[in-house]
């Protein structure tokens, strides 16, 4: 193991441990409330990134899975008369529902690329929202109410926290495994140049669809947690266009297509958002601030925190060890198909295109 590896591992484990003991250290429910919502978005943003970050297809329809997970959990709880902690047992099923929905959705939407794909996901999203409004089983405009739970008030948030924590940790692990696998390499090849990837033998449709389905599962599960925690899902909160954009913003802020980036973005944005919502009583000022933050992030740091920081560190290390390691191969900023994340070692010291190609062959 290189020194960088050791640092990465110990850092990740430390973060994991810190997140695991967080509700034991901070017992104030107002603080653990922040924790629950943040973990919900850590999971959602990381899952979104498994598809959109790695493949470059920007989905603005993942709220379909979030809402469906929430609605499935709600309907099953109501119809099967589940109470208390039993409801958490429904989460794997919610994930399955997300996966099943993702197959036809993906088959339809992945026929097209770029802007058309984005619009396709938005159209499917609106179809689902309207179904939630109009179907008999979803409770229409009033939505679905969760049963009250007789947990102790002081530790009320903890079961939700750990459910969200398990899903978030699982998603990040999955994302990490995919990123270093052949499958992840195929996804990134598609992102860089889909036709060339096909030419090299990548079964693009299959690969894209698989990652779409995989990324739907944690989003649907976390939707179930969210429903049980907020105790209410209605069509406008379950299928919320702001959810899609928030998740995308988190991934962009942290670093699109990196493992830790989306989680980092969620850790920064979600608590800030909750804090602002409490401080600024009127929703419109919050909207203006949110939009402004968005613009600043994209215009100042278009590639996100992790890639930018990683590049700075690499530059600094190179300067220190000047001459001992050839690093001149890195293409200029903004050039096409550059593998920008220096924390992965699969592209270091050689041309990224070459590494992609050799890994696929």
């Amino acid at each position: 193991m290189t020194t960088a590896r050791v640092w990465q591992w110990s850092g990740s484990l430390l973060l994991l441990a810190a997140a695991a003991v967080f509700p034991l250290a901070f017992t104030n429910p107002a603080i653990t409330n922040y924790g629950v919502y943040t973990l919900i978005f850590v999971a959602a943003a990381s899952a979104w990134n498994i598809f959109s970050g790695y493949s470059g297809y920007i989905s603005l329809g993942h709220a379909v899975f979030f809402g469906s997970g929430a609605y499935f959990t709600g309907i099953a709880t109501r119809d099967w008369h589940y109470t208390g902690s039993q409801v958490f047992a429904l989460l794997p099923l919610a994930g399955l529902v997300g996966a099943i929905l993702a197959v036809p959705f993906g088959l339809l939407a992945l026929q097209v690329r770029r802007h058309t794909f984005v619009v396709m996901t938005i159209a499917v999203f609106f179809i689902f929202q309207l179904m939630a409004y109009n179907l008999a089983t979803t409770g229409g405009t009033s939505g679905l109410l969760a049963p009250t739970i007789n947990y102790n008030a002081a530790t009320y948030n903890n079961p939700f926290y750990y459910a969200a924590f398990a899903i978030a940790a699982g998603t990040i692990t999955l994302s990490w495994l995919i990123r270093r696998s052949r499958f992840g390499l195929q996804l990134r090849a598609i992102r860089d140049d889909e036709d060339r990837a096909r030419g090299l033998g990548v079964r693009a449709t299959q690969v894209k669809l698989s990652s779409f389905v995989i990324s739907a599962v944690p989003v649907a599960m976390i939707g179930g947690v969210w429903w049980y925690y907020t105790t209410l899902v209605d069509p406008s909160s379950g299928f919320d266009p702001l959810f899609d954009v928030a998740v995308a913003l988190m991934a962009f802020l942290g670093g699109l297509g990196t493992v830790a980036g989306p989680a980092l973005g969620a850790l920064i944005i979600e608590p800030a958002e909750l804090y602002f919502q409490q401080q600024v009583s009127s929703g419109y000022i919050f909207l203006i601030l949110y939009g402004a933050l968005f613009l600043v992030v994209i215009l100042i740091m278009p590639r996100g925190i992790l890639p930018t920081a990683g590049e700075l560190i690499t530059k600094w290390l190179t300067r220190r060890k000047n001459g001992t390691r050839p690093t001149g191969q890195r293409p200029p900023v903004g050039a096409s198909s550059s593998e920008v994340d220096p924390t992965t070692d699969d592209s270091q010291g050689q041309s990224p295109r070459a590494s992609t190609a050799s890994g696929l062959a």
Binding site: I58, V118, V119, M120, L287, L295, P302, S336
Partner: protein, 294 residues
Amino acid sequence: MARFLQAVADGISGGAVYALMAAGLTLIFGVLDIINIAQGILVVLAAYLSYALSVHLQLDPLLGLVITVPVMFVLGVIIQWAFIRRLRGRERTAMSLLVCYAVAVIIEGALYAEFGGTPVTIHMSYATSPTAQVHVLGFYLGYIYLIGFGLAVVAIAGIYLLLYRTKFGRSIRATTQDAVAARLIGINVDRVAAVTFGIGVAVTAAGGMVFGATNAFNPDSGYDLISRLLSIVILGGLGSIGGALVAAMFMVTVEEIVNIWQPTWAVVVYYAALVIVLFLRPNGLFGKKAVRAQ
């Protein structure tokens, strides 16, 4: 049958306004290769401008276009110049969507701050009252729909004249075909982009005025509008103005027809139509074959 034909008539007259707003969107896409998702909220902003002018200055909304069109044009140029122009590189598609969305959110917040969330509608005594309608060939058409239809025809004709009869229009078309080549032969692509964005946004002034006179709107209306407009431009084939016109008429008519039997599901049919058409024809009805990209 009579209701069916009435629905078709409503669809065509109502569709013209959507066609106008969609034409702006598709024009921007053609030149800049970005989708301006802020178009929906810009329509609402224009509607509020007309509303404010008519309430506070007692200015007739039609006359108010003399003010709102230039205002929206300048706003469009500013958005392009300040934000869109700076986007470069591989993730430009995604980032342009997010930038436009951010602009939309800011405008939405500002509109809430200024006007609140209560739905309002633009009143024009001679055009929007229930009795202000004309009875032709067995159809009833409100004057406001006729005005909207007329405005749309004039504006679209204007855009066509600009594109096909002026030197500047030729440079817009050249940029649409190949921005790099256009730059090489001396076209000021940045200026073309800014002006095109301005024109694409300026049409929302007319569209917003008619939209505001025919619907009750609040700052939230932008979401519904943009999802419709997106469906229309995608269905028509991105970058094709003619396609946007046909698709707008088609979509609004289909919605009106379904609305006769199934009011709750009319909007679902609208999006389902989009999904089905795209499944069969990934480039839309009139789209050019996509260039090798992603």
